[in-house]
Amino acid sequence: MALDKNGIAKRIAKEVKNGYYVNLGIGIPTLVANFVRDDIEVEFQSENGVLGMGPFPFDGEEDADIINAGKQTITTMPGASFFDSATSFSMIRGKHVHLTILGAMEVAENGDIANWKIPGKMVKGMGGAMDLVASADNIIVAMMHTNKRGESKLLKKCSLPLTGVGCVTKVVTNLAVLEIKENAFHLLERAPGVSVEEIKNATEGTLIVNGEIPEMKI
């Protein structure tokens, strides 16, 4: 069965390693924090200026001055720090953040990503996404394999305005885990009960299937 959003987040949480500073985007990526093993040390960075983000506050304890990049009220963990926006992006641009997890509308087989604009329709802006994808070495995209019309989001070439070029290395969807290299999506794992055939049908870009593809363990 294809994964739901929590399932995708659970699988991505396994990519978070001890000692990592991690930047989580809005949407499915935010859920990843809920599933990170509690026996490892990880700090979550939010680009509006906090390192060491904690869970949402209890009702009545929210503070207007302490929010995440999604403008939600948050708390901080012991050892947390606050800083200005330029310092925040020094952490990102300077590659001090080890892992970036973000959503996308489209990903191409060469690692291009589009997630900020639908011409004539949606004009919200790129926020910090362009800085994140241009700088991070370790980027995981969390998204559904197809859009609401059932069309593949893993393409030969992005049709929407790009956020970054040749930057995505890994994609985790409701159907599969894929690695991007040598201008192709390499199938690494299938969601439980999902066949290679189903993944092939939902992938417009070049899909490389090498040998037996294991099911994800989540």
Binding site: F56, I67, K71, T73, F83, V123, M130, A134
Partner: protein, 233 residues
Amino acid sequence: MINKKVNNVEEALNGVKDGMTFMLGGFGLCGIPENAISELVKLNVRDVTCISNNAGVDDFGLGLLLQNKQIKKMISSYVGENDEFERQMLSGELEVELTPQGTLAEKCRAAQAGFPAFYTPAGFGTEVAEGKETRDFDGKMYVLEPAFKADFAFVKAWKGDAAGNLVFKGTARNFNANMCGAAKITVAEVEELVPVGELDPNQIHIPGIFVQRIFQGKNYEKRIEQRTVRQKN
């Protein structure tokens, strides 16, 4: 001590004119200069360019200036929470320059620090880089981005003193700290203006040299955009 204190928001905004470029601190509604924004609405200055990460919401923050059609151009990274903004942008009434958030912050910092421009990898190969100089450093491509030029920077801090020293709280520091000293005149409003000498020099986030005018703000609403809580058990 060089005294930067002014008595009220009216004095603080003296010299603000039509057609000027303003920087406004804040991320979403967190840390926005509420008093300065209210006064800009009252002064009804027109055709202004606003550099601000976001554009407020329909009825608060920079949304108030948008409702009043005072803004000619917005330079922001994310404008998703404002219907009036989207309407004015799609109809062409409002000019918008969407800028990657880290680039926006650095364009402020560059202006503060005296750099005319800098290279960043953000936006290379996208429409953000169109018409801009690009350059290869060690096999990676970068885009040349100029520093901002602004007439006024309006920032909000938690505490400050008459010397212009500022201390921020939580994530309300955001762009506020980077905009100090990045415009011809920096106006700081604070929740608490404390006597000079009370702030520990070791704990000051922005030294007073970057601030030209400071005043005790009032009636802070500090609206929360996305109140998100968990229940006890």
